[in-house]
Symmetry: C2
Subunit: 355 residues, 2 copies
Amino acid sequence: MKLETTYKSNNYPIVVEHQALDQLHNYIEGYQDIVLVVDATVDINWKSTLEFITTEYGAHKLVIPSGETTKSFSFYEEMMETLLSKQLTRDTCLIAVGGGATGDFTGFLAATLLRGVDFIQVPTTILAHDSSVGGKVGINSKHGKNLIGAFYRPKAVIYDLNFLDTLPYSEVLSGYAEVYKHALLSSAEAVRNIETQFPNATALASLNEIEYYIFKGIETKLNIIIKDEKETNVRKFLNLGHTFGHAVEYTFKIPHGHAVMIGMIYQFIVANQQLNQDFDIAHYIDYLSALNYPLDIINTFEFETLYHLMLKDKKNDQQGVQMVLLDGIGHPVVKHVDKEALLQAYTTLLTYFKK
Amino acid sequence: MKLETTYKSNNYPIVVEHQALDQLHNYIEGYQDIVLVVDATVDINWKSTLEFITTEYGAHKLVIPSGETTKSFSFYEEMMETLLSKQLTRDTCLIAVGGGATGDFTGFLAATLLRGVDFIQVPTTILAHDSSVGGKVGINSKHGKNLIGAFYRPKAVIYDLNFLDTLPYSEVLSGYAEVYKHALLSSAEAVRNIETQFPNATALASLNEIEYYIFKGIETKLNIIIKDEKETNVRKFLNLGHTFGHAVEYTFKIPHGHAVMIGMIYQFIVANQQLNQDFDIAHYIDYLSALNYPLDIINTFEFETLYHLMLKDKKNDQQGVQMVLLDGIGHPVVKHVDKEALLQAYTTLLTYFKK
């Protein structure tokens, strides 16, 4: 399956299939320099699969730590200076092979190396179906996630589903949060379908037909970001679950999607209170429990810490915290939510988890 | 005098006149947050002039060191984290008040803060007539100048010529190099005019009618960058004198324009040798001496050091050093020049300065 973005210019293809990596050739011919930037775990599991990039194309290779630790200022400086020591020209392409952190980090390197060189996203996780599309790149600040970065489009996204074979279930859960989010942003029917396809942990672990839902997720995302690349309006909808989720992720260092799923429950509670919605909170908690999301962490939450982090969200304006809320499935809106309302929703959330 | 860029979209005005700062109001109304980033020396000399930005607009104020020291990785990190500690939203405008380094640095902060916020250039030097226009922003690597950065357009350039009153003559010389360069890129008549207007140090120090030549310089530059913002072809012409100049600047830490003027002489020599030109090298050296450019430093040059740095120039491709050469005044070309030819030109350059 293949999609193409529909911007006015500088469009890029998104290839989603098993063996998609075979098509990488089409996009990296002719560069003077190629740099393979690969996640350390992926490098171990897929060394021979990726070898052609270094052997056939003489690519430089940088192996970077897995996960968010890679997205630090000091590591950005280290890798940037390493790249610059190789006397690369502007006719260089970086290839990011890994999860979301690898793509974010490599994309930011590409955006700022010699004022910008090309890069290609080769996501290896379900989560990265989301982050590899849309051109958001960046690193983390000590004040919050992704606060330093750019909007910088890749030249191509080559999503080889074979990589998912070695994905631990915890990572499957993390990625599924964004797939599920895209269903929530889409329609009640999409949500019913995906819950039916993946009713429990066994079904989800099988990844049966996951490519369909990943593809749908990318489609949903593309429809939004084509209208608003720089997140001045509708792109904010993609942050469903992320205001609270990012704060949880930053505080507890749990996988992104685990935190976003919790953020999504929180959002349902806020939507019930602020928009007079009638979301069945117990249903969502039961569903996530059936998928084995580790939700017990909610018992250890501290409101003031999370509130302080929510205040730093990039979507905010001077009036305070802005959240994406569902005014019905498939109908996201952006709303200011004041501290009192956030505290009330937090208190409600905790009642579901009190022992 | 006012110019406006003519890109397809996202154009910005360039106001060049005495008291231009009065017009800053038109461009900073309505932002949620404003941050004044000001060069330490400018802050001392023009504190009361700039005060309205903090008092009327409640701007945050960052005072940064003068010159290139500001453009280090560690200072970038420090200022970025300082900005992020202020819980700014994306509806923020940074105002860069200072020379080229202040603009480059602040522009890169703006390009990467929360994935990009607005910024306005308020250049205070002659040199910055050049760097403030065109959207090149960045910081320095240990491997060379401006190797980390982006193309990121300002929202406006407000060039208040009053600032030039406190400019030391050494800075006048540095800026004049780019004004003179723009004349060289323009026409033989433009060069005759500017040499007649400023025949010696006394005339140049008076800055009499400098605004005309600055305005012409900006016009010349705009004509080029509108055609090629990302420097894939004709924008390279603006690097006249910079291949050798950057290497000299980086090695000896002398002001940018002093180094570029030396780079321009070097380029005339290479053009004579490689393009069968007949530039009167002695004339240019005499002229620059009459303006009091400190050229004696040329006696201390070491070819291998400079060559190594020239190899890192961003314009290069895999064939080696690419230089902008004048195939006649007003007729720049980009040419590969091999090491032997570079050495030959270097040796010729030295013969003019041997005691």
